[in-house]
Symmetry: C2
Subunit: 358 residues, 2 copies
């Protein structure tokens, strides 16, 4: 454009609370080659059969809209998880389903409770909706504050199990107690459950107010395709679907999800391999560098360097083209969150740390 | 599940206005073969080079998150449309961008104005947000009611140009007058512009309150991939991005969009072929069957059967596995909306109509 309209800093049509928002900042996604990327909890083990199926499906009617309600994919999820299709909703990543849950349950000023520290998107989503975010501190070793969460009075309560960025798993009994004591909807975000957590799916039969979220971005290795799903009471699922866009999941993503489900045992075997590697490298970080490493049931480790500030170690690793995650946030600012990658990537990390910490 | 929690019809955590919603109903998407599908304005001419590029990209790191801000794709859009990258936002179909615009601009009870009849999703989105929908009647031949729309006092005004389901194109001058007279944001939904409409992109240089939406679902033939984009003032784009999910457009969709843009001339040549076919079949419907067919600048025709009710013709065609669209809605209930497909599909339609109307 050769000319430009005079621009005000804050156009009056933007709602004031949106202008005031600090956006959620996802981990860096360098698009060029050559990085060891241990910062966004991706999974190196995408099954080649999934890639093959997606490539073949590219020739199949991409000019036509996808199935708006993911009928075949939901049938596959139903068979795998023992939940009826009308209790399942698929979305453009579990992030979309989190957004939908907030919009369906919380109006302006309504309370949304969640443990702190946890997935920082929860607070962002509450603020986007102009709802009232209520962070509830985790215990000293990241224990779930069940009574405090219930007392927080959330119309919506969000709990990641296992938790991120701490990696902490919570017991089904704790989640059930919480389900029975919160006033509103309890959303259990099980993004990392396949690496060692306990699922809340059995609670669906006993607690109508439980919504379980899953993603194919972690154990299934499909972060690049964007596929999440929710399991919950049909009345809740119906409400979420009413608010969702018409065609949330594209044709190829539906295919990828179905093929990944068909190979569920291989997916789980890969997840277990990552879990074993996680535990081995937790030991290495502790023993070789004297770091404090928290117990993890996920595909990442929360680790506190012994002698140097986490932010310095983060920068020194980045200079060597190794990305981990550092959160400038109370209680975790002294830690790094390190995704568990391939054996070669973890070896490169340890080798780099030997240089950085020498 | 062997047992089921007792289920109330309306769980108390669902916001009352969501419970009251009637969901938007998209056109039928039969997933089996053998249908002549002229009901959702898809485009039969997807370029084979796009399919090829998507198939090849399936092998490229689907386990990694996509670029959250579509850097390369926005660069391609910037070069093609002469709009700077910071004035462009990509989304999971233009439906997602419509949703974001509503959420960013309109709070509960705020007025959202739009012509009627138009894309029925506009009313649905207003109701989802618990905003106040203000439909403004089009003129007797679907003329844009510029003064009435301005007087409607929308914090957000939504105009499809060309309009759907009428197919009507509006002049740039009309859109500019509207931009200068509405109080808030004017969203111009140009989903069909490549089939013969006038774009509002030149207004971006003069009117900060204009947001132009495009989609790759129509002229670009990528409905199955879900890609839309918005052009607007950087302050508006920034606000939309703050409210958007982190990774809205998956890796393969970003590739598809970039390759389709590189072949823009071929895409436009296909769109022009569809436009010529549209005009030819408009003539056939008028002359052979005596139907009233409205002038169209889109890839569909709004046609009023002469002797039989539109709903009956719809049903008779469906029985022959030909899908067109019928809206049970005032002023268009006597009409069918017919997408322009291949020559063979349009021939099959005419042949079927000869049987149905005999």
């Amino acid at each position: 454009m050769t000319t430009r309209a005079p621009e005000r800093a804050t156009p009056p049509w933007i709602r004031p609370h949106v202008t005031a928002l600090h956006p959620y900042v996802p981990g860096e996604q360098p698009q060029e080659e050559g990085w060891v990327k241990l910062n966004t909890n991706e999974n190196p083990y995408l099954l080649p059969q999934v890639v093959q199926a997606v490539a073949e499906a590219a020739g199949d009617a991409l000019q036509c809209y996808p199935d708006p309600v993911c009928t075949a994919l939901r049938a596959g999820l139903s068979a795998r998880y023992g939940v009826p299709p009308e209790a399942i909703l698929c979305g453009n990543g579990s992030d979309e389903l989190l957004t939908l849950a907030v919009r369906v349950v919380a109006g302006e000023g309504d309370r949304i409770a969640y443990p702190d520290p946890s997935y920082s998107l929860y607070e962002t989503l509450a603020r986007i909706q102009n709802a009232f975010p209520v962070p509830v501190p985790l215990g000293p070793s990241w224990e779930l504050p069940v009574a405090d969460l219930a007392a927080a009075g959330g119309r919506l309560t969000l709990v990641a199990n296992p938790n991120a960025p701490t990696g902490t798993p919570y017991q089904l009994q704790e989640i059930e107690t919480l389900a029975g004591s919160v006033e509103g909807l309890l959303l259990v975000d099980e993004a990392y459950v396949d690496f060692g957590g306990q699922t809340a799916l059995p609670l669906l039969a006993r607690h109508e107010n439980v919504l379980v979220l899953r993603t194919m971005s972690k154990a299934f290795g499909l972060a690049g395709m964007r596929l999440g799903y929710a399991f919950g009471a049909p009345a809740t699922i119906t409400a979420l679907r009413k608010v969702q866009d018409s065609y949330p999941v594209d044709r190829l993503t539906q295919v990828a999800g179905m093929v990944a489900l068909e190979r569920f045992d291989e997916v789980m075997a890969n997840a277990q391999e990552i879990a074993r590697r996680r535990d081995r490298y937790a030991g290495i970080l502790r023993q070789r560098f004297g770091w404090k490493v928290w117990p993890s049931a996920t595909n990442f480790l929360l680790a506190e360097p012994a002698s140097r500030a986490a932010s310095e170690v983060f920068a020194a690793l980045k200079a060597r083209r190794i990305l981990v995650r550092h959160f400038a946030k109370a209680r975790v600012e002294r830690c790094l969150r390190i995704s568990v990658g391939t054996e070669a990537e973890m070896g490169a990390l340890v080798e780099a740390l030997e240089g950085v910490l020498a």
